[in-house]
């Protein structure tokens, strides 16, 4: 395969030669390794190498894009550019058309465009694999079964444009999930860590602690309960804001929780009384991510014309006030708003509130429930951002500062915005992995939240 940089230059050269009015070429070089296990045995695994190439070609007011995953060399990218140019010439004017980003306006890259891609391979799993056989033995000794998944992905992106941009970024992404279940299925516990080299023994210890809690089963009815929602659960609920409520155009259309009755958006409105700040920042320590826009196709919030633009820290909520919605430049210009791109991390903090760890918050709880994680979270009503979902792999009953047993699972109906409105205590923000959306939104920092009246709509028999 020819180097990624050569693919970029060949594509740009082909576009120029064919008379395109602009062109962007993105090449993503990926490597991946994973292992999966269940029932105290390894099940599947894999190592993969990939290359994804996207081209954006502009002809007059029209734009066309194409992407290919596979070995794309000089001929391949030239063919892609030629086909896209023909498509662009037939396309109606692009709604998101904007001047391409100049080299002088582009984001400063963290690595040189000339550097080769970074890679991973199966050896990255050595620590996990070497720990597994002992973990399986310990699980059998406890009459329990372990299941889980460990993966690492390293992707290097190269972005070049006909306006002189040459950017590159490498992004490692990793996670280890571990589930322990009692052999009779009465108890289940989960721990997830967004890293490929966590201490599997420490994860195991937490699993055994929780399965010990589950030896006493306490049946509870549906209703509203004081709940400690751990950082993993907070990730998944805040992710629904990120996915479903931050679109500027959708909000202006009137279809999100941040739409204003009678038209417009709620930007500038105080949403929460506690000073929550929900933000994305490519430079946030521990969750660093790509500091520039890279888009192979446009959407209502992201534009191919914005490729290469810097991604500054963006506060979506700032001290409880709705501060920003997501727009590409054309959308922002049309709406008189500030452009705000998608950024691949999400952080929630609350001023000086620091309630400590989940264990600290449990110790301050007279009567309540400690949740482990949430699952199958889906929108019921976008106007209120009411989500439904379920508790999973451990709901623990707290009495007088201690966990005294495990309760049944519940279906909940809750809005993440309302959770922020009603939260009465905020823990220390930590690097966290969402159980449901962690595979899509891996880079998060979230606190635990105390919710005084979490709406458990019905009991789920799942255990």
């Amino acid at each position: 395969m020819i180097p990624a940089q050569e693919v970029v230059e060949t594509g740009l050269g082909a576009a120029s030669k064919a008379g395109a009015d602009g062109c962007i070429v993105l090449v993503h070089e990926g490597s991946h390794a994973d292992v999966r296990f269940a029932l105290n045995t390894t099940t599947t695994n894999g190592v993969q190498r990939s290359r994804d190439v996207s081209v954006v070609v502009i002809a007059g007011d029209g734009v066309a894009t194409a992407s290919r995953a596979g070995v794309v060399g000089a001929d391949g990218v030239t063919e892609m550019v030629t086909d896209a140019l023909a498509d662009a010439r037939q396309s109606p004017p692009a709604e998101d058309a904007f001047a391409l980003v100049d080299a002088s306006d582009g984001a400063p890259g963290r690595r040189s465009f000339d550097q080769g891609p970074e890679e991973t391979d199966a050896s990255a799993l050595d620590d996990v694999l070497s720990s597994l056989s002992g973990a399986f033995e310990r699980a059998r000794a406890r009459d329990a079964v372990l299941a889980g998944f460990a993966e690492i992905d390293v992707g290097t992106l190269y972005l070049g444009s006909s306006t002189g941009l040459r950017l590159s970024h490498t992004q490692p992404t990793a996670a280890v999930n571990l589930v322990g279940r009692t052999a009779d299925g009465s108890g289940s516990a989960w721990v997830g860590v967004p890293s490929i080299d966590p201490s599997l023994e420490a994860m195991e210890d937490e699993i055994w602690r929780r399965l010990d809690w589950a030896k006493k089963q306490i049946a509870l009815d549906a209703g509203r309960y004081e709940v400690i929602l751990p950082p993993s659960g907070v990730v998944d609920m805040m992710a629904t804001i990120d996915y479903d409520a931050l679109g500027g155009q959708d909000t202006e259309d009137g279809r999100t929780v941040f739409s204003k009755e009678g038209g417009g958006t709620r930007i500038g409105e105080t949403i929460t009384s506690l000073p929550f700040t929900l933000y994305s920042d490519p430079d946030e320590g521990g969750v660093e991510c790509r500091p520039f826009v890279a888009a192979g196709a446009s959407s209502s919030e992201v534009s191919v014309f914005d490729n290469g633009l810097p991604c500054p820290r963006t506060d979506w909520l700032r001290d409880g006030v709705l501060a920003r919605l997501r727009y590409h430049r054309a959308g922002a210009a049309k709406s008189g708003a500030t452009m705000a791109p998608y950024i691949d991390n999400l952080i929630l903090r609350c001023g000086l509130h620091d309630g400590g760890s989940v264990d600290d918050m449990v110790a301050r709880t007279e009567n309540g429930l400690l949740l482990t994680c949430l699952w199958y979270i889906r929108t019921v009503d976008p106007a209120t951002l009411l989500m439904t979902g379920l508790t999973r792999d451990g709901v623990y009953v707290i009495q007088n500062g201690k966990v005294v047993g495990a309760a049944n699972n519940f279906r909940f109906n809750e809005s993440p915005v309302d959770l922020l409105v009603r939260a009465t205590e905020v823990g220390t923000p930590v690097r966290a992995l969402g159980r449901e959306f962690g595979e899509h939104l891996n880079r998060t920092i979230m606190p635990a939240l105390r919710i005084p009246d979490y709406n458990m709509s019905t009991v789920s028999q799942a255990s």
């Binding site: 992407s67 998101d96 571990l178 959407s299 379920l390 279906r411």
Partner: protein
């Protein structure tokens, strides 16, 4: 219809399978998958994406363990290298401990050429034609006063795949599918409402959008014409009073309930615990085979990979197993599961029923859902109107929207596109803010009647998720209208504390 020329596939096969000599099993898959996505907002193009995935993956069973490796570099020497890499992965994971993996036997199918039923590959139609069609439909909606905004989307996929295994099967296959949706949004002082088309995604070609309705294609004109009036009625509908109601569920909604509460629950890999860390397990555990009362005696459910235009329909699955049709629930009793070769062997079945699928050459095949369908009650069975006529106080549910179910497939909650009050056997206007919630066996146990053949529709989804790394699969679910007694109805606004 082949991802590569025959001689190139032959060279890859020879290189891979020679390197796999001595393995208990091995297969190489070469795939070219083209996927397009078009989205319009207010009749203007918003997203245009056209992508092609091309690569190969090899899976081996060696030393009693699975090894998988994949690459976009599709050359014979790379195929041999991938096999060596996969064998090393199998060796390493075998040493991590646990049981040995065996595959249920499958006869060799030799040379197989198979294609799904279509006239025009939808990915071959110029993007400009697609934009023009969706823009015209969007404008027809936009012209109506009640409609404030429209969105339209079209997903089209064409798969060309090749599989060769140590068993001697050489399968070359092509499938196409498409999904088209239009949605209109209306605003009022109290908020907004939407109404979306209920045309199901199908394993058909471009003709599904432009062809004659008499040939089984969708009547888009009729549906688009109705959307604004349905939306206006919904906008003025009264909010539902929470409580217990009898439901008549239209196939456009019921397919998703089947998918979640039967389709996933009867995947045997889930039922025995292989998905415990992610997708979940199942209440329909293996010890309940042939004795679990899943639903009422009128409930008959099959799995198949054979139904014409089905999204999960194939000739040969991704482990070299021929497509089949099989019972899952008969007379309301659980009588079967969906299987791949490993789970079939592990649980004592003589053969897989062909439910292995990988969504890309870069992913290992896992057990994925067949087309899981509820049988109708025959040519003389009741119409939807007949079912409604048997309800004094109830709700008629049409179209899917929101869905959620727990990790053992007990407790579910669904919404829909529109809900109608039923009063004394007649429809009495739309309701809004409706969600229905039930436990799987309670819901199906309360199914009093299923509609006749005239009510049966093949619905489905493009995007069923499972596995780690995550994979998506297309799957169809055929079903008639049904009557279910005594279902818990929630008011979504009340649940939100409004």
């Amino acid at each position: 219809m082949s991802p590569l020329a025959a001689d190139e596939l032959g060279a890859l096969t020879e290189a891979a399978l020679d390197a796999a000599s001595g393995c208990q099993a091995a297969e190489i898959r070469v795939e070219r998958v083209r996927s397009q996505m078009l989205r319009l907002h207010d009749a203007q193009p918003e997203t245009k994406a056209d992508g092609t995935d091309f690569g190969m993956g090899v899976r081996v069973i060696d030393d009693g363990a699975v090894g998988f490796a994949a690459s976009v570099d599709v050359r014979p020497e790379e195929a041999a290298r991938l096999v060596r890499q996969a064998r090393e992965m199998a060796r390493v994971t075998s040493h991590a401990g646990g049981g040995r993996v065996e595959l249920a036997p499958e006869p060799a199918h030799r040379e197989v050429q198979w294609s799904s039923a279509f006239v025009v590959d939808p990915t071959s139609v110029p993007m400009a034609d697609k934009i023009a069609l969706l823009a015209e439909w969007s404008r027809r909606l936009d012209e109506r006063e009640v409609v404030a905004h429209t969105s339209a989307s079209l997903l089209t996929v064409s798969e060309e795949t090749y599989l060769a295994d140590l068993n001697g099967t050489r399968a070359t296959q092509q499938r196409v599918r498409l999904q088209c949706q239009l949605e209109a949004l209306a605003l009022s002082e109290s908020g907004f409402e939407t109404m979306r088309t209920i045309a199901p995604p199908v394993g058909r070609g471009w003709e599904y959008l432009t062809g004659a309705v008499a040939d089984g294609n969708w009547d888009w004109d009729a549906e688009i014409d109705r959307i604004p009036e349905l939306l206006a009625e919904k906008l003025g509908a009264r909010s539902v009073e929470a409580g217990t109601y009898d439901l008549v569920v239209d196939p456009s909604n019921l397919w998703l309930t089947i998918h979640e509460s039967i389709g996933h629950a009867t995947e045997l890999d889930r039922a025995v615990g292989y998905e415990a860390a992610y997708a979940g397990t199942s209440f329909a555990t293996f010890d309940k085979l042939n004795n679990l009362r899943y639903g009422s005696p009128v409930m008959h459910v099959t799995g198949d990979r054979t139904v014409k235009h089905g999204l999960a329909t194939v000739g040969i699955d991704d482990e070299g197993v021929a497509a089949q049709s099989f019972d899952l629930v008969r007379d309301g009793i659980l009588v079967g599961y969906q299987l791949d070769r490993a789970i079939a062997a592990a649980m004592g079945f003589v053969r897989s029923n062909g439910c292995a699928f990988a969504d890309s050459p870069m992913h290992v095949p896992i057990q994925r859902m067949a087309n899981v369908s509820l049988a109708h009650s025959g040519q003389n069975g009741p119409s939807t109107e007949d079912l409604i006529g048997g309800v004094d106080r109830g709700i008629y549910v049409v179209g899917d929207k929101s869905w959620s179910i727990d990790m053992q497939r007990y407790n579910f909650q669904f919404t829909g596109q529109r809900f109608y009050r039923i009063e004394n056997g007649k429809l009495a206007g739309q309701l809004k803010d409706v969600a229905y919630q039930a436990t799987t066996t309670d819901f199906w146990g309360a199914m009093e009647a299923v509609g006749g053949a005239s009510t049966w529709v093949l619905g489905g989804a493009f995007n069923c998720g499972k596995g780690q790394p995550g994979q998506i699969a297309p799957v169809s679910h055929g079903c008639p209208s049904v009557l279910v007694r005594g279902v818990n109805i929630l008011n979504a606004r009340a649940e939100a504390g409004r």
